[in-house]
Symmetry: none
Subunit: 195 residues, 4 copies
DNA sequence: TATGAATGAGTATTCATTCAT
DNA sequence: CATGAATGAATACTCATTCAT
């Protein structure tokens, strides 16, 4: 009887290893050795489970994306009106708290910058941005019967703010009034819609 | 009789070499060889003019910052009212056009991500963000006699939007409605102020 | 199933590689390539086993020091009187014979000169010199009930002679009457003690 | 009227530049740039006055040797008896005082270690050692009518002590009782002669 | 003579990837 | 599956030497 496969588990460990290393050093400086150490595994094992370093990155991107989606869905459960859903969207993106979130955001910012260098990462990143934009735009439209193109613009700007806030949270922490982000962004958005 | 010094010129060439390489590959992947090639110089010459790679990066950051400031000041010349100045601020940041701007923004996004890895870059980056935030906040306050802390929040959000838009412009170009950024951001800001 | 560790063996090989290269070229000129070649290993492997070149040097210094101590202890086994111990000390230091000794001395002379450039090597070197001096001084005192400070002076001079002879043996071989060193030094020391 | 040649002066400056750099860093680490800086000259000028780095070293060796000889001759002026001359020899070698001496000794120790690596330096070094040995041996013989070969042995040992003391003075300063060297060595030598 | 820019080869070090066990 | 040793290419940086001015 062969021992049960643990590929899936090992792959998760490795992906999380990359996430934690990347959060502080970026992708280029995340050596296989360091990833292995962070994952508590032997270096040689990495390439048994992944073809190469890039593949781990891609899986990490997918993991982060999935996690973010889940955050939104969880908050959406109790939302019925469009306004509540918009609220849920922004809260899911910006009302971050624990250490896991912290690392997730750090990794995400690193991923965003890797999107500039790797076409495949760029595609994944673009997809999320595109989807989120469309989602938010349709929520906005539902909420206020404004023009579609106008709602799209506001949605893009909103997404940009979120990405920019992630960035600033990693580089200029002490400039951000603590916990201000979600509320301020919602204010901005809603006030631009009501007239 | 002695050969005339050309240090300043060479240093500029090298800095621009780094900028152009970084714009597409990031800092870690900007090899000295590549920088030299982009600058049209022999590799060995780089370290004759700069102590190390980091020093080139720092000078590049300073150059980009200076250039951005000049853009704002140029647009501010004709602005008298606070509203016009806010307008100038946003336009200077977002109404970008030619290839030089393109490269500048690309380099800036890369710099922002380097700020996460190098403390000295982080300091420079933080300083600009801080200064811009304060500047914008005081303009907003001048314009609407709202509370200082409220204006600060809006200013931060605005700066975040700008940084986020830079990011998106590099990673998800075709999602941005062309030329929409400045106007949409101004709308958002002003509509949040008037009530 | 895992490959058995051979770190200790490889490290020894590398250290001996450095010793043999240093013996002829000195530390600065002992390139990693040359060390690897002397050890029969791939260059990249050196840095798998050692953090950097300096670390190899430090281990080499420790090895040489240990070897020298063992030489003395081996000769001391049969020594009971102080005079015999002094004899053993000088013999251990100077009655050198085979090729291994030759290389050891060559490496030691190189190490001594590196002590001028690297603080950590200087400390190791100083420690041995200091310990040997104290050891010899106490032997001398045991032998002749002379003043402590006087014995210390003779001990230092004796150690200096030994180091100087090492030096000359590497640089001006054909000036040294073969095999004269130990006897002559003992004569000098004992004749200065008897009055 | 052509400007008067200053080759000799420049060469001296460069040689002293090397001496001062070597005293602290050794020959391999004495870069042409550093030598030029120490000499207060432009880097390019070095190779105008010297074919290559080695040539400067050779001239430095000659300079140091000459300086040492002069020290001995100066002290010999008032010496008439063999004992006084032996005294002068040892004093000239070991009764060092000012900063210039300090640098000279440091450079000399570095030179001695370079003798292991460069055949031409080895020759120069060997010559001095040989000559000094013969000189001292003949003085010893004049003083005590002992056998020539015996006197040679003592002379070699004496020279070795001196070289060893130079070495220790650079590497383990605080172990040497201050100012003890000359007297102790003279005691050792004379007591070994009188039986 | 003098200056300092330029070149190119050389060096330590890192690291993704492979492979023997 | 797992381990950790091994490889070789890539990279930042140094430096003697040359050369244009």
């Amino acid at each position: 009887m062969p021992r049960p496969s643990n590929k899936a588990i090992r792959r998760q460990e490795i992906i999380r290893g990359l996430m934690s290393v990347m959060a502080t050093t970026g992708y280029e400086n995340a050596s296989i050795q360091a990833i292995a150490k962070a994952a508590g595994l032997a270096p040689g094992l990495i390439h048994y489970h992944f073809k190469n370093k890039k593949e781990i990155l891609i899986e990490l991107v997918n993991l982060v994306i999935r996690t973010m989606e889940e955050r939104f869905l969880a908050r959406c459960k109790d939302a019925s009106s469009p306004a509540q859903k918009i609220d849920a969207f922004v809260e899911a993106a910006l009302a971050l708290g624990d250490d896991a979130d912290e690392e997730l955001v750090a990794a995400w910012v690193m991923i965003a910058s890797e999107a500039m260098r790797h076409e495949d990462i760029q595609k994944l990143y673009e997809n999320v941005i595109k989807q989120n934009t469309l989602l938010l735009a349709s929520l906005l439209q539902e909420y206020t019967q404004g023009s579609k193109s106008e709602m799209k613009k506001i949605a893009v700007m909103c997404i940009a703010s979120i990405e920019g806030l992630y960035q600033l949270s990693q580089t200029t922490k002490d400039i951000l009034p603590s916990g201000f982000a979600a509320d301020t962004l919602k204010n901005l958005v809603f006030s631009s819609l009501t007239p």
